[in-house]
Amino acid sequence: MWFGISWSLPKSFTLKKQFPVYVLHFPVCPSGGDNASFLDTNPPKKKTNRTFAVRKELCWKKQHMATPVPVLRLPKGPDPNSRGFDPNSPRYIALCRTTVATTEAAGGDEEELQQEQHARSVLRERFLRCLLAMNNKKVRFNMHENVTVEATFGSSDIDVLNFQVSDLHTPIGVQKEALIRSQDVISFTFDA
């Protein structure tokens, strides 16, 4: 043994006429990984021609002293199917207002509030039934810049951000399948 390097003959060596083949074993150092801070902040004294002893010492220190901080789990990534902002999260429940504020009567005019809630639920139901009725029907979309396009309606996504349509007739041609951004649409009409 000479400074951590060992020499050995491979077990398969049998032919006497061949030149001897020696296998070098260097001390195994863990992969540097992400953190090279120890070597960066404690450079060896000899900048060139480091001895094997110094290398061995540095490798040992790196292996035995720098334990990575364990983590409970990795951060959660985005959900591919939605834009997030979970409505069931405590923050959402505590802070989120409805987009159209209800009339808040101090002291609680319960009847008026109930009527308003009833009207809201009727409107929501009508919109959803409308989306269902439009399925596979020819729909005319009135968009910004006086653009009107016709297409066969497919469906809407859960946040009503996009409409999936087929055979979209545009001023520059017919698109077999397309997504229309709902914020670009002013209104749409169809024959039920």
């Binding site: 983590v71 409970l72 789990r73 990534g77 834009r83 923050r91």
Partner: protein
């Protein structure tokens, strides 16, 4: 025993992350918003990096993003010539503010009633969010595209950094330029700390600290590589910087001595910010990821777990030992 830093990688973006900002500390913790060239800024829980939602609506690369102090509103600046204000609880777009060119920077006042925007049209604009029909106030003066604009001095003044190699201090009431700092090279980033009125500026390989009121130099530090962004710890013990060599450097603020350097990113680091409690800092890179790094390596915080055999932390909830 020395601990090796384990960064938490937040994936999700598909293009380089160019800006990030933390909110203040709210009853629900603190939050982090990241601006990305894929046009989809994301909101994350600040201490864990968990994704909360994506703000959908921009039609171009998002160059700047910010949150207000209580994290109820977000604002983004994009290459589609608009700055947008969002409800950061529901993720809905509240306002879209049209500009004449790419918008690079947005910043809320402390009361969240006004928004400062700046971009490639060389103008600073102040929007009144309670009166959106009114035209914005405009401040002209810079000779080139503005990279960053921030409120300072209790929202009475504005600091702006532009590609004309200057940083200018403006008075909000008079809309006039108060002071100018000129550099030999373009300033790559600017951060303002209200507590102590310190301005952190990076240019070339230098990280410089200025008094935000007088624009007098406090101190400078040199890094081994060109630096794109730096951030000062809230307690002013350390500052961190990241740049073109993909590494993050941690310096002692008192002595300007380099303490640590961390590898991890696979591309140049574009932005670095300390969290409001100083326990971690986040970095955004060309490789499309955000990484969260501990200030005190080995401490139990967020998703990091204390592992010392004899735990110095007296909390009964902490678990020590190898996972």
């Amino acid at each position: 025993m020395a601990m090796r830093q384990t960064p938490l990688t937040c994936s999700g973006h598909t293009r380089p992350v160019v800006d990030l900002a933390f909110s203040g500390i709210t009853p629900f913790g603190y939050f982090l918003i990241s601006a990305c060239k894929d046009g989809k800024p994301m909101l994350r829980q600040g201490d864990t990096g968990d994704w909360i939602g994506t703000f959908l609506g921009h039609k171009g690369a998002v160059w700047g993003a910010t949150l207000n102090m209580d994290a109820t509103k977000a604002a983004t600046a994009a290459a589609d010539f608009t700055a947008k204000v969002w409800d950061s609880v529901s993720g809905d777009e509240v306002l879209s503010l049209a500009h004449k060119h790419i918008v690079k920077s947005v910043n809320f006042t402390q009361d969240s009633n006004h928004l400062l925007t700046a971009g490639n049209d060389k103008l600073l604009r102040i929007f009144d969010l309670s009166n959106t029909d009114a035209a914005p106030q405009e401040i002209a003066g810079h000779g080139a595209a503005i990279k960053k604009a921030l409120w300072c001095n209790d929202d009475k003044q504005i600091l702006s950094a532009a590609d004309d190699k200057t940083i200018r201090l403006w008075d909000r009431t008079s809309m006039e330029e108060v002071k100018t700092l000129t550099f030999n090279t373009s300033v790559s980033s600017m951060e303002y700390m209200a507590d102590g009125e310190i301005l952190v500026i990076t240019y070339g390989k230098t990280i410089a600290f200025y008094n935000a009121l007088s624009l007098e130099l406090i101190k400078t530090a040199e890094a081994p590589a060109p630096i794109n962004s730096a951030s000062l710890h809230p307690e002013k013990d350390f500052f961190v910087a990241g740049g073109e060599d993909f590494k993050l450097y941690k310096f002692d603020y008192g002595t300007q001595e380099e303490l640590e350097s961390y590898k991890g990113h696979f591309g140049p680091v574009h932005c670095v910010r300390f969290s409001p409690d100083g326990e971690l800092y986040a970095s955004g890179s060309e490789d499309g990821t955000l990484r969260l790094w501990q200030t005190a390596v080995g401490k139990t915080y967020g998703l990091w777990k204390c592992v010392l055999p004899v735990c110095l932390d007296n909390s009964s909830e902490s678990q020590c030992g190898e996972p």
